[in-house]
C-alpha cells in the first residue's frame, strides 16, 4: 500500500517486464537470453517542478517517494492545478495477453521458428553475411496515483528480423526482412516472402546503377510512407515541442492547411502491435487522434503537462522508453490514411519517376530525409531499372502539399528490432504505415 504525501501530486509506475532475445550470425547461435525484472518509476509534482526517481528495487518505492517529496514544496491546492486536473483516474485490470503470454512459450520453439528460415539463405553466394534475431516482450504495468488511479494493463510484442549483406565485385547492398505482431503464432509461414525478398535483393545488387540526381515524382511504398509520416510530421505533432512557443503555435495553429486535401494522418494507441499502448505511462487511456484531416491540422499528441499548457485534451501519448525514464509525448501507431486510387492507377499515371521500396532510415525537422535502400525508376507507368539513391529530402510542408495520389489499401508494420528515438529515449517501440503515396516533386541525390 503506497502512502502518497500530502500537498503534492505523485504517481508510481510499477513495471514487470519479460523479454526473450535470440540471435544467430551466419548460422551460429551467439545470444539467447531471457530477461525478467521488476522496477519502478516515481514522480512527484508540486505545481512548480517535477521530481523523478527510478529504482530496480520494488521494496524501496515508498522510500524513493518520500525522498522526492522532501525535495518538493507542498501546496494544498495541488489538486486544482491545471496539469493535475488533466490526469485521468482510471482503475481496473485490462489484461489482453494473460491467456497467451510469450513467457509461457518455451525457448526451443522460438529458436526453432527462427531456424526454419535458415535454409533459404544457403547456397546464395552473393549473401556474404547475415544475422537472425528473434525478440519478444511482455510488459505488465500498474499505475497508481494520489488522484486515485490504479490501473493495470499489459502489452506484448513478438517478431523476427533477418539482416543480410550482399556483395558482388565493388557493389554492396544491405537489406532486411522482418515480421512482427503480438504473439508468436503469426510469425510462421513467411518463407515464400523471404525467398522473394532475397531474390529481389540479389537482382538489385546485380543491376542497380546510381540515380541521376534531381527533382523527381516519387512513389513511396507503404513502409517508406509510414516512416515518412512518422519522421516528417509525427514528431512535429508531439506537443512538448510547442509548449510556450508562440511562433510555433501561430504557425501550427489548429485549422491551418498543412498538406494536400487528400492527406490524413492518424495516431492511435489502440491498434495491436508494437505501437499498442492501451494506457500511457501517466495512466491516460489511448485515443485515436487525427493529426491531419484532409490536409488540415487537426490534433496534437499530448502528455498531461502539454495538454494543460495548450488547453487541449490528453490523448494517451505520454510514454517512457523504460523504467528509468519519465513519460514525454511520443507516437504510438501512426499512419497515412488510404485514398481512392488503385495501386495500378497510381503508378500508371507517372510518366517518369522513382519508386522507393525499402529504406535504411529517415529523419525530419523542417527538412526531412529518407535514405532509400532499394528503388526503381518508373517509366511510362511501369517499374523500370533499379537505381541506387543516397538520400531524398525536402521541405516538410511543401512535400505534404505535393502529395497528389494515395492508393486505396492501408498496410501497418510492426518492427521487432529498433524503434523511435527522441533525445535520450530510444528505442521506443512504435507502429507505422500507410498506402502507396505519390509525391509530385522530391529532391533525389
Amino acid at each position: 500500500m503506497i502512502r502518497f504525501p500530502d500537498g503534492l501530486y505523485s504517481d508510481v509506475r510499477l513495471e514487470e517486464s519479460y523479454s526473450t532475445l535470440v540471435r544467430f550470425a551466419l548460422g551460429d547461435l551467439e545470444e539467447q537470453r531471457v530477461r525478467d525484472y521488476r522496477a519502478a518509476f516515481i514522480r512527484v509534482f508540486d505545481g512548480r517542478r517535477w521530481y523523478f526517481a527510478a529504482t530496480s528495487d520494488s521494496d524501496s518505492v515508498q522510500k524513493e517517494l518520500d525522498s522526492l517529496a522532501a525535495l518538493a514544496s507542498p501546496d494544498r491546492r495541488i489538486r486544482t492545478h491545471p496539469v493535475v486536473e488533466k490526469l485521468q483516474c482510471n482503475t481496473g485490470k485490462h489484461l489482453r495477453y494473460d491467456d497467451n503470454p510469450v513467457s509461457g512459450i518455451d525457448e526451443k520453439s522460438k529458436v526453432d521458428l527462427l531456424g526454419s528460415y535458415f535454409p533459404l539463405l544457403s547456397g546464395r553466394d552473393r549473401v556474404k553475411t547475415w544475422t537472425a534475431l528473434y525478440r519478444d516482450r511482455l510488459q505488465v504495468k500498474r499505475f497508481l496515483s494520489s488522484n486515485g488511479a490504479d490501473v493495470t494493463f499489459d502489452t506484448q510484442t513478438a517478431g523476427f528480423a533477418f539482416g543480410f549483406g550482399l556483395a558482388r565485385g565493388e557493389k554492396r547492398l544491405t537489406e532486411s526482412f522482418h515480421r512482427g505482431g503480438t504473439g508468436i503464432d503469426g510469425l510462421d509461414g513467411h518463407h515464400e516472402a523471404f525467398r522473394e525478398k532475397l531474390e529481389t535483393s540479389e537482382d538489385f545488387l546485380e543491376s542497380s546503377m546510381p540515380v541521376k540526381p534531381g527533382t523527381h515524382t516519387v512513389i513511396l511504398s507503404p513502409f517508406a510512407a509510414g516512416i515518412f509520416a512518422h519522421e516528417s510530421f509525427g514528431h512535429k505533432s508531439e506537443a512538448d515541442f510547442m509548449v510556450g512557443d508562440e511562433t510555433m503555435l501561430r504557425e501550427w495553429a489548429m485549422g491551418s492547411r498543412v498538406g494536400s486535401d487528400i492527406l490524413s494522418i492518424v495516431d492511435d494507441g489502440n491498434v495491436p502491435g508494437t505501437g499498442y499502448v492501451p494506457f500511457d505511462d501517466e495512466g491516460t487511456r489511448a485515443t485515436k487522434t487525427w493529426l491531419v484531416r484532409e490536409g488540415i491540422l487537426s490534433g496534437r499528441l499530448h502528455s498531461a503537462s502539454t495538454a494543460a499548457d495548450l488547453d487541449e485534451k490528453v490523448t494517451g501519448n505520454a510514454r517512457s522508453v523504460n523504467f528509468e525514464y519519465e513519460p514525454i509525448p511520443r507516437m504510438t501507431t501512426t499512419w497515412i490514411e488510404p485514398g481512392s486510387k488503385t495501386k495500378k492507377d497510381l503508378f500508371s499515371e507517372v510518366a517518369n519517376g522513382i519508386f522507393i521500396d525499402t529504406i535504411r532510415h529517415g529523419s525530419g525537422l523542417s527538412t526531412f530525409t529518407i535514405a532509400p535502400s532499394m528503388s526503381w525508376m518508373i517509366r511510362d507507368g511501369r517499374l523500370a531499372e533499379p537505381v541506387s539513391v543516397s538520400v531524398i529530402s525536402g521541405n516538410v510542408m511543401q512535400t505534404l502539399r505535393d502529395i497528389d495520389g494515395l492508393s486505396d489499401t492501408l498496410e501497418l508494420f510492426d518492427v521487432p528490432s529498433g524503434g523511435c528515438g527522441k533525445m535520450d529515449q530510444a528505442p521506443l517501440p512504435v507502429g507505422f504505415g500507410g498506402p502507396f503515396v505519390r509525391v509530385a516533386r522530391m529532391n533525389v541525390q
Binding site: 527510478a54 529504482t55 553475411t129 550482399l166 554492396r172 530525409t369 543516397s390 538520400v391 541525390q445
Partner: protein
C-alpha cells in the same frame, strides 16, 4: 568451470530543461550485475538489476549453459588494474543549482533563443573480475550538457544544438563558453563562398562522419566479404595524413580501458588505419577466431548478455596542425547539425546540413543557410582530406576537428 562477474553502476542526476528553465529533476542509481560461467565449450550468462544473491545468480548462469551458445576461448586473466579518473565536477546537491545558474545566464545573454533538453551529472563504474585473476575496474564522474535551441521567431522544432559531453573538469565559465560559442554567430546570416567545393569541418565526435568506416571496419563485415574494405588489408586506401585508432584512452573521454571480455591493449589503443594504410579491423574473440583476424579487444556486452562485437571508440589522430592552419586562409563550413544523411553501400555520402557556420579556424563568422553536402568515404579521408586539428574549440572536452573538401550547395 570458470566464473566471471561483470558489474555496471550508473548514478545519474538529470536536469530536464524546457523553455530555458528547469522543468524536472531526475535521480537514478542502478546497479546491473552479470555472472558468466564457462565450461570450456559454452557460456552461460545470468543477470540481475539491483540486489541479488551470488549463489542464485551463478546457478542460473550454469543452467544457461544448456542453451548452447559456444564460447571455447580462454578468458582474460592475471591482470589487476583499477582506475578512477579524477574529476572536478559539482556533486549531486550542487548540480541542480549549477544548472539554474547556467540557464539564468543563457536567458540573460540570449533571450532571443529558447533552449531545451537536459544537463546530466554522471557517476559511472564498470568492473570485471574472474577466476583467472582478472580484476579490472574503471570509475569516473562527468558532466554533459546538451541543449537544442531555436530562435523565438522560428517555426521549426529545433534550429540547432549546442553543449558538450563528458567533461571531467567542469567550470561554469567553460560551460558557458561552449554553450555561447555559436549563439552570437547564429544571429548573423552569411552566404557560402563562391565555389562549389569548400572545406567542411566536422567534430571528431560527430557520429555521421565515421559511420561508414565504423561499419566497414567491423571484423565481421570485413571477414565475411561484405565490407567495402574486404580483401584490402595492407593497402593504402586513404590519405597519408589519415590514421584511425581503436582507443580506450579513458583519460580523454569517459569509458573503460578494457572491453567486455576484459581485453586491455598496450597504451589502450589498437591502430586500424596508419598513414592511410589499412592495418587492422576491430574484433572480439568470436570474430577474431571465425575469420582468423587479430584480436583487437572490441567486445561489448549488456550486463546479462554474451559479449559480442561492438564498435569501440574510434579516434582520428591529429595531423599536427591547428584548425586555422588546416584551412590555409580559406573559410570552412563548420557543421554543427546534420541530421538524416548517410552513406550508400558503395561509400557515396550525402546529407542535408540543418545548421552550419562559416568558420575561419578561430571563430564562427556567421550562420549559413541550410545546405546539402556530398562526397565519398574514400575521398573524405583520401584525396580531399586536409587533416585533423590538434586544437579544439571546446574548453571542456578533447573534441577536435576534421577538415575535408566536399561538394556543398544550398538546399532548396
Amino acid at each position: 568451470m570458470k566464473r566471471e562477474k561483470y558489474t555496471l553502476r550508473r548514478r545519474t542526476t538529470t536536469v530536464n530543461v524546457v523553455q530555458t528553465r528547469i522543468e524536472s529533476v531526475k535521480r537514478s542509481d542502478i546497479v546491473r550485475t552479470g555472472v558468466r560461467v564457462f565450461d570450456g565449450t559454452c557460456i552461460g550468462v545470468a543477470g540481475a538489476l539491483g540486489g541479488y544473491e551470488d549463489a542464485g545468480l551463478e546457478t542460473r548462469a550454469e543452467a544457461a549453459l544448456s542453451r548452447g551458445v559456444s564460447y571455447p576461448w580462454e578468458i582474460s586473466g592475471k591482470r589487476y588494474e583499477k582506475v578512477t579518473v579524477p574529476a572536478d565536477v559539482p556533486d549531486e546537491t550542487e548540480f541542480v543549482g549549477e544548472m539554474e545558474q547556467i540557464l539564468r545566464e543563457l536567458r540573460k545573454k540570449h533571450p532571443e533563443l529558447i533552449f531545451s533538453n537536459n544537463g546530466k551529472l554522471v557517476d559511472f563504474l564498470v568492473a570485471i573480475e574472474n577466476d583467472r585473476g582478472l580484476d579490472l575496474e574503471y570509475g569516473t564522474r562527468y558532466v554533459s550538457i546538451g541543449l537544442g535551441f531555436k530562435h523565438r521567431d522560428s517555426s521549426g522544432i529545433m534550429d540547432g544544438v549546442t553543449g558538450f559531453e563528458g567533461a571531467f573538469e567542469y567550470t561554469r565559465s567553460g560551460a558557458l563558453e561552449d554553450l555561447y560559442r555559436q549563439c552570437e554567430a547564429f544571429g548573423k546570416k552569411v552566404d557560402l563562398p563562391g565555389t562549389d567545393r569548400i572545406p567542411v569541418i566536422f567534430s571528431t565526435e560527430d557520429p555521421l562522419m565515421l559511420k561508414k568506416l565504423r561499419s566497414d571496419l567491423s571484423g565481421h563485415q570485413f571477414g565475411s566479404g561484405s565490407s567495402l574494405l574486404a580483401g584490402r588489408m595492407g593497402e593504402k586506401l586513404f590519405s597519408s595524413g589519415f590514421s584511425l585508432t581503436q582507443t580506450a584512452d579513458h583519460m580523454i573521454r569517459p569509458g573503460p580501458f578494457f572491453d567486455a571480455e576484459g581485453v586491455v591493449n598496450d597504451d589502450y589503443r589498437f591502430p586500424l588505419v596508419e598513414d592511410g594504410t589499412l592495418r587492422a579491423v576491430y574484433t572480439d574473440r568470436r570474430t577474431a577466431d571465425r575469420f582468423s583476424l587479430p584480436l583487437t579487444g572490441s567486445a561489448g556486452a549488456l550486463y546479462d548478455s554474451v559479449p559480442s562485437l561492438y564498435p569501440s571508440s574510434l579516434r582520428i589522430e591529429d595531423t599536427g596542425q591547428t584548425l586555422k592552419e588546416l584551412l590555409e586562409g580559406e573559410p570552412g563550413v563548420f557543421v554543427v547539425f546534420a541530421m538524416g544523411g548517410d552513406f550508400t553501400p558503395g561509400g557515396d555520402f550525402a546529407t542535408p546540413v540543418q545548421l552550419s557556420y562559416l568558420h575561419d579556424g578561430e571563430k564562427f563568422l556567421g550562420r549559413l543557410p541550410e545546405l546539402r553536402i556530398s562526397s565519398n568515404v574514400f575521398s573524405i579521408f583520401g584525396k580531399d582530406f586536409s587533416g585533423c586539428s590538434t586544437d579544439s574549440i571546446s574548453s571542456l572536452t578533447e573534441d577536435r576537428h576534421v577538415v575535408s573538401v566536399m561538394d556543398v550547395e544550398k538546399l532548396g
